[in-house]
């Protein structure tokens, strides 16, 4: 079955630390990958997406993610986090093209200490 896994449930970092959140997806043919962020009390916002082309994708707020096909991974990175990055981060995959439905990972809660 198609699935997306996020192995870190809760990550705690100090400001200026580097961030990497893991995401793995299952094989299922064509897959488009996304990272969403949910700040406390707000809606899910798209951080970045990968459809094809350059496997290093840059998103908003200084985030980036790298699609590594051989590892079925799409990890999210940020070189230096800020307190305002405290949020929950969701990796999601869309299998089978635009007619499919997003499949989400379980989410990773990021807490950044000032």
């Amino acid at each position: 079955a198609q699935s997306v896994s996020q192995h870190n449930h809760h990550v705690i970092l100090s400001e200026a630390a580097s961030l990497e959140l893991g995401c793995n997806y299952s094989y299922g043919g064509t897959v488009n990958l996304f990272w969403y962020v949910q700040y406390p009390g707000q809606h899910l916002q798209l951080l970045l997406k990968y459809f094809s082309g350059d496997p290093l994708v840059k998103g908003i707020k200084g985030f980036e993610a790298e699609f590594i096909k051989s590892k079925f991974s799409f990890n999210l990175r940020k070189p230096s986090v800020q307190w305002s990055d405290t949020a929950e981060y969701f990796c999601a995959g869309l299998y089978g093209g635009s007619q499919g439905n997003l499949i989400f990972g379980k989410g990773t809660k990021l807490s950044v200490k000032p």
């Binding site: 969403y36 809606h43 916002q45 798209l46 997406k49 969701f90 997003l102 379980k106």
Partner: protein
């Protein structure tokens, strides 16, 4: 920036009662979705809706659930007889004809007591 609006933000209901969760998708979007997240678990797909009919639904979306787009702007999720295990955050999403990702609402937290 256009938004997907969900109301209410939090609803508490007694087991066995009917609830209707409301969503106003982005006005020119064509595809509509409901997802839910039980506390501590994954965000799960419930149903997708296009051209005034359900295009796909998950195993979770049983006969207790229904969706409707009654007036061309609202998109509602009805749970006919709520169970304790229906307690979750329910997210509505929409997208346009060209797929560029979904736009999500801020969610409705449903608590069944």
């Amino acid at each position: 920036e256009p938004e997907v609006t969900q109301t209410p933000s939090h609803q508490v209901t007694q087991m066995g009662q009917e609830v209707i969760l409301r969503c106003v998708p982005i006005s020119n979007h064509l595809y509509f979705y409901w997802y839910r997240q039980i506390l501590g678990q994954k965000v799960e797909f419930l149903v997708s809706f296009y051209n005034n009919e359900i295009s796909e639904k998950s195993e979770i979306f049983d006969d207790q659930f229904s969706v409707e787009r009654p007036d061309g702007s609202n998109f509602t999720l009805k749970i006919r007889s709520t169970k304790l295990e229906d307690s979750a955050m329910y997210f509505c999403a929409s997208r346009g004809r060209t797929f560029d990702g979904y736009t999500f609402g801020s969610g409705t937290r449903l608590t069944v007591v």
